[in-house]
């Protein structure tokens, strides 16, 4: 039985450089995951992600960048108690590994730490998942937004 790790793989028809930007930069991350993301995408930097409205009962979750090597690897820890350094045992570790494949990128995601972290995180995720079903509705607005991003110099 393995209750500790989630592993996923997806093929993306975009270059590793683009996929790396989308999985690592806060302005992209807030478009596929939390409602807000504030951190510097460099190793050791700590910030936060926010689910819901920060000023109206939203959930603010600590977020620490562990590794950032464009365009191959981006990893972070999240859910550590506020004010504590992120470490094994107090947080979940998410790792994105990017491999060039064909004309695109094979994106592999692993999330570990559930054994150490306990049930409350799974419950938090489930709550978020319910919240996230709204994404199917908002996605048509998102794609034109994403497409406009690289128009900037």
């Amino acid at each position: 039985m393995e209750f500790g790790t989630i592993e996923r793989e997806i093929y993306v028809e975009a270059s590793p450089e683009i996929v790396f930007e989308v999985v690592s930069s806060p302005e992209h991350v807030r478009n596929w995951w939390p409602d807000d993301a504030r951190y510097d995408p460099t190793p050791g930097s700590t910030g936060e992600i926010v689910f819901g409205d920060r000023d109206a009962g939203g959930t603010v979750v600590p977020f620490t960048v562990i590794d950032a090597r464009a365009p191959r690897t981006f990893s972070f820890r999240w859910t550590q108690p506020a004010g504590q350094p992120a470490a094994p045992g107090n947080s979940l570790l998410v790792t994105f590994d990017l491999t060039p494949s064909g004309g695109g990128t094979l994106l592999k995601m692993t999330e570990t730490g559930f054994r150490e972290m306990g049930w409350e995180v799974a419950v938090l995720e489930q709550q978020y998942q319910e919240h996230a079903t709204g994404w199917d509705f908002y996605l048509p607005r998102l794609v034109p937004y994403a497409a406009s991003l690289r128009v900037r110099p």
């Binding site: 989630i6 989308v22 306990g118």
Partner: protein, 116 residues
């Protein structure tokens, strides 16, 4: 109130599974079908007393069911509760599936814009 109670139970359930000795015991119980503290302790590097204590934890969260067997209790895995624990983690997995689909769509939209 009911929601809070459920969360409390779930916390206990998860911490019961979170311990490697108890997971090993669940594995052994699944293989054997059923076992007592005595028979389990023969297969593990811990005392019968320690095994009995861990079985008590698993019993309280409903992961095992006990029936009297002479002076001991015989334990079996409660499949529905174990499945529930697994399903909770699976729901985390499906949340990631949805996120990765969004990552894919965003990245591919950017790629198309760059090519045009």
């Amino acid at each position: 109130m009911k929601a809070a109670r459920t969360t409390e139970v779930d916390d206990d359930l998860w911490s019961a599974i979170g311990d490697p000795t108890r997971r090993r015991m669940l594995d052994l119980l699944l293989i054997a079908g059923d076992a007592t503290a005595t028979t389990l302790s023969r297969q593990m590097p811990v005392t019968r007393q320690a095994v009995a204590k861990h079985l008590g934890v698993l019993d309280r969260v409903g992961l095992v069911r006990a029936t009297p067997a002479g002076r001991e209790k015989r334990y079996r895995v409660h499949d529905a509760q174990l499945a529930r624990a697994a399903a909770q983690l699976a729901s985390v997995g499906s949340a990631w599936d949805a996120r990765l689909q969004r990552i894919k769509r965003i990245a591919e939209a950017i790629q198309r814009t760059q090519q045009n």
